[in-house]
Amino acid sequence: MNKFLLPLGIFIVLVAFLAIGLNLNPREVPSPLIGKPAPAFELPQLHKPDATFAPKDMQGKVWLLNVWASWCVSCRQEHPLLVELAKSGIVPIYGLNYKDPRDDALRWLKQFGDPYVLSIVDAEGRIGIDYGVYGVPETYVIDKAGVIRFKQIGPVTQDALEKAILPLVKELQK
């Protein structure tokens, strides 16, 4: 009996490690930017190329920065959720249009609806690099002080919205 206890113990530990490993998503790389001020930028707006937008304009407000592109397939998946969230008026959503021709981006918004207060254009993906974007879509929750509090990698899901993003937004808005 005792003879089998040790190998059995080792086996159970191994299975536990493998089970945790299998359930982790290797594509979700924790961002070092969480808890740090959102990198500054000043970019032209999608609808009004002459006007610009900078994160410091949002001082004192909790807001979402959603990185999107018309060529991004998963963006379509999350889009209805964002449109709904925008309608509810809980939190303003700003779009970062990532490496996208302007015409394509505008057409895409016309087709699927525009949940964004405004979108800004990052044609060369430079601001994307500053924000550590590596797979569109990505969504950042930024607090009143301009600090990144949360990053959703990949499409926003109903689950992520209800369990992570909205509770955090409400907490930050207090």
Binding site: V29, P32, K99, G125, I129, Y131, Y134
Partner: protein, 157 residues
């Protein structure tokens, strides 16, 4: 004949076009070498099992451009690596720094090795004790054994 002449002219133009391609300047080669050396240290986050140097993903191209520009600005290799880690985390480095969270990653294999060696020694010692030491043979038994061995020798074809 006319057709032949046209194709001849075209062929000549072709060579001209190739010759027109800009030859890389000496500085470019140095920058390129440094860029490759740095990007080989970095993981492409889009296709995680490729290095930034080898990846054809869009993001990898952008990041290589970024590295080139930073080299041109006179940043050191370490500064460029820090730039990448600051945005994408330790995971981008193929050789992550030694710190609390990476301790197991660096020393885990050695711990397993030591545990294995200790287990091996313990098991071998235990087994050695379990096997009864061979009793010494008496003179009579020795003779008997030798006789048997000789017999066996003779039986050999």
């Amino acid at each position: 004949m006319k057709r032949f002449l046209i194709s001849l002219v075209m062929a000549a133009l072709c060579g001209y076009a190739v010759a027109k391609e800009a030859a890389p300047t000496a500085e470019d080669v140095v920058v390129e070498k440094r860029m490759v050396a740095i990007s080989e240290e970095l993981r492409c986050l889009v296709c995680q099992n490729e290095s930034l140097a080898g990846s054809q993903a869009d993001l990898a191209k952008d990041l290589r451009r970024e590295i080139r520009e930073q080299i041109a600005k006179g940043r050191s290799d370490q500064e460029i690596l820090d730039f990448m880690v600051g945005r994408y985390g330790d995971f981008v480095r193929y050789r992550p720094p030694l710190k609390g969270t990476t301790f197991l990653l660096w020393f885990g294999p050695f711990v397993l090795l030591v545990v294995g060696v200790i287990a091996l020694v313990v098991i071998l010692r235990r087994r050695g004790r379990r096997v009864a030491p061979a009793a010494a043979l008496s003179a009579e038994e020795l003779q008997k054994a030798e006789a048997l061995l000789r017999l066996a020798e003779k039986d050999k074809p």
